[in-house]
């Protein structure tokens, strides 16, 4: 029956008709909005302190072989106790939620959705345009931040970054955008599901807090419940560790921090536990080639991108099935 309906109203032409104007308008709205300014200031305030402290520390380092520029991101200064990427891990979801939590339901509330859809614009294009515009805004802010950090590093360290460092830094940007994309998709999903912007924001923030505060404890509780009472061998211990890691990886924040660790700390060989037998003969501290680092964190990157697409698809399906009243 529905199939018949669907075929009856099967549209003509590309589903992306009108994508361009929506994308441009949304981008313009985002970039000129006060909220965007506030969020950017927020990020800078959070990021500036760790970066400044790490640069102070790194200026005393005289080791040409270490990945000096990458250590701006990963170094955990003593007086701050949080590295730049740890700050980003925390702040990127907030920024993405801020960009996406009211993208659809505010149009409902202002009763502009039906007006927009009366134009030659498909719903698909509207949602995708809103999502990609949010992602582009986020990417612009992030690239600006990244350039500020690298620029400050250039001025204060006085050495140019090597090609490998730049490549790893760009990889970090891609991962960060994908991480932001996941949270943007989640917040848009809630903005589609709930008509009230407050509810949507609450749900998004609630999920964020859940993953940050509650999930690590729930995961360890599950693991300790599932683990045998007595661990007999190293393999069993490794299996339990693997299980704990697997549960933790359901949180996008874990995926992000692991991916960033692999990219920005080239000496990372494995993200899981390493058996002593595997350590034998290994030259510790030797950096992995870039392609090997990428292969190491490839599941994480894949997970983030695929998660983003799947959540967006869910939001899309819900949005398509909703009734838009004038």
């Amino acid at each position: 029956m529905r199939r018949k309906d669907a075929s009856a109203v099967r549209r003509q032409g590309s589903p992306f008709t009108g994508f361009g104007p929506v994308f441009m308008k949304e981008l313009a709205d985002h970039l000129s909005s006060v909220r965007m300014m506030v969020l950017t200031l927020f990020v800078i305030a959070f990021g500036a302190f760790p970066v400044a402290s790490s640069l102070q520390t790194l200026r005393t380092v005289v080791d040409p072989n270490s990945f000096l520029f990458l250590r701006i991101f990963t170094l955990e200064p003593e007086q701050v106790g949080i590295s730049f990427i740890a700050a980003l891990n925390f702040i990127i979801p907030l920024m993405a939620i801020g960009l996406g939590f009211d993208s659809v339901n505010s149009e409902f509330n202002r009763r502009t959705l039906s007006r927009v859809l009366s134009q030659p614009i498909y719903r698909d294009a509207l949602l995708l345009g809103k999502f990609l515009a949010g992602l582009a805004t986020f990417a612009v802010a992030l690239v600006a931040l990244w350039l500020i950090v690298v620029g400050a590093g250039l001025i204060l360290l006085g050495v140019p970054p090597r090609g490998v460092e730049v490549a790893r830094g760009l990889g970090f940007l891609v991962v960060a955008v994908a991480y932001g994309g996941v949270w943007l998709a989640i917040s848009m999903f809630f903005s589609v599901v709930f008509r009230s912007t407050a509810t949507s924001a609450l749900c998004s923030l609630g999920l964020w807090l859940f993953f940050f505060l509650l999930w690590p404890q729930i995961a360890s509780a599950i693991v300790s419940g599932a683990a045998p009472s007595e661990i007999r061998s190293l393999e069993e211990y490794a299996a339990i560790q693997d299980m704990a890691m697997g549960l933790m990886r359901l949180s996008p924040g874990t995926l992000f921090s692991e991916a960033v660790l692999g990219l920005l700390s080239p000496e990372t060989r494995t993200l899981g536990p390493m058996l002593p037998a595997q350590m034998r003969g290994a030259i510790m501290g030797a950096p992995l080639p870039l392609d090997q680092s990428l292969l190491l964190i490839w599941p994480q990157i894949t997970g983030l991108i695929a998660g983003m697409i799947v959540v967006f698809a869910a939001a899309y399906v819900v949005f398509q099935r909703e009734e838009v009243r004038a």
């Binding site: 669907a6 109203v9 549209r11 589903p15 498909y122 719903r123 698909d124 060989r269 494995t270 390493m274 058996l275 037998a277 595997q278 034998r280 003969g281 290994a282 030259i283 030797a286 992995l288 080639p289 392609d291 090997q292 990428l294 292969l295 190491l296 490839w298 599941p299 990157i301 894949t302 997970g303 991108i305 695929a306 697409i309 799947v310 967006f312 698809a313 899309y316 399906v317 398509q320 099935r321």
Partner: protein, 387 residues
């Protein structure tokens, strides 16, 4: 009558002699001038010291003036007592006083015997000592050099140690300079018999011999063969020389490297990678029965093809393949492996850095997951897309 006289004399003397026999050599009384060699040789232009003892046997001590007579013209003879020039001595009962005569013979003194008489004269008694001093020509310095084992055999890496005996056959002490002359790049050093200090000369007293050690180190790349080393000792115009021989037998020397000299390589987890090892013999003799072995991290597999090489001629090189398989559970990164080649008495090893890479299969799987997610989205668009 004569018998009676003798008896009387005996009766008179015997008690006195018996009293003397308690502390002193019996019988002899008087003042004596003594020396070990009353007739000796002196050399023109040199100083000779003659020791003389003044002995007082059972006489009253009294000052004795010393005098020399018969000193040839140009000669200078000083009388020294306790290091000072003296003119008289006073000797206690049954005691000696040593006097040295420092005889300075002029350079142009003619050869021949001269008699000098030393007299010691006191108010009561006197003694005299004639000394015959013969001016002789100088005995020429003479050295001898001997070795018990003049020919040694060894490899280019061994040290050849010869024990040499240097003798000073002349009449005076000599400082002997040592020298050894070998083929180019042969290093030779002299040491004292049981010492470790390198020496270039050694003092030898007259008539004595000393053992010295000569150590010859041939250059490492010396060809097999016999090499002579000429040892020369010299002192004051006297020389002695002898020839010692090094019989150098050839020795092989193994060097292990890779074809392009690079000691690093890549290996994929669970897959066999092969590297080409090059074995070179830099030595002078063939290297036989070369066995290849290696150390790799735990659970890795290592194989050599061929496992052993029968012989490598000098200057030749042989290639061998080494097949390394990282463990299935290895983690990506750099590992250290070492390869060894060992033959009889010869060994060479090389540390090899292996970068373990992971399979890109999982990367492709990841792209597949993203593709599936996109397909889900496209499916949703196709299913739910509407005006």
């Amino acid at each position: 009558m004569r018998r009676l006289l003798a008896l009387l004399l005996f009766l008179f003397v015997a008690p006195v002699a018996g009293v003397q026999a308690q502390g002193d050599p019996p019988g002899l009384k008087g003042l004596f001038l003594l020396t070990d060699y009353p007739s000796q040789t002196v050399r023109a232009g040199e100083v000779t010291t003659i020791r003389v003892k003044v002995n007082n046997a059972g006489q009253m001590p009294e000052p004795l003036a010393l005098a020399l007579t018969g000193v040839p013209a140009g000669w200078k003879i000083d009388m020294l007592g306790g290091g000072q020039p003296v003119g008289a001595v006073m000797v206690g009962v049954n005691q000696d006083v040593a006097v040295q005569l420092r005889v300075e013979v002029p350079k142009d003194a003619p050869t021949g015997a001269q008699t000098v008489t030393l007299t010691a004269k006191g108010p009561m008694q006197q003694a005299s000592l004639p000394l015959t001093l013969t001016v002789g020509t100088e005995a020429p310095a003479k050295l001898s050099l001997k070795s018990r084992l003049p020919s040694l055999r060894g490899t280019p890496r061994s040290a050849f140690e010869y024990t040499l005996t240097v003798g000073n056959d002349s009449g005076k002490d000599l400082t002997v300079a040592l020298a050894a002359q070998g083929p180019a790049n042969f290093q030779s050093t002299f040491t004292e018999g049981f010492g470790s200090n390198e020496i270039s000369s050694i003092p030898i007293e007259a008539g004595q011999t000393k053992d010295i050690k000569l150590k010859v180190t041939p250059p490492r790349d010396v060809k097999a063969g016999d090499y002579p080393v000429l040892v020369k000792v010299a002192a004051e115009g006297a020389t002695a020389e002898m020839r010692v021989t090094l019989q150098v037998s050839g020795q092989g020397r193994l060097a292990l490297s890779t074809k392009d000299g690079r000691l690093s390589g890549e290996a994929e987890i669970g897959r066999t990678s092969s590297y080409t090892l090059v074995l070179t013999n830099d030595g002078t003799a063939p290297v036989d029965e070369v066995e290849l072995s290696g150390t790799v991290p735990a659970n890795w597999k290592i194989e050599f093809n061929p496992k052993s090489i029968a012989s490598i001629a000098p200057g030749d090189r042989k290639e061998a393949q080494v097949l390394v398989t990282p463990a299935d559970k290895a983690v990506a990164g750099d590992y250290m492996a070492s390869f060894r080649a060992s033959a009889r008495g010869e060994q060479s090893s090389a540390d090899f850095r292996i970068t373990v890479t992971t399979s890109t299969l999982w990367g492709i799987a990841g792209i597949g997951i993203i593709a599936v997610a996109l397909l889900v989205l496209l499916g949703a668009v196709a299913r739910f897309g509407r005006r």
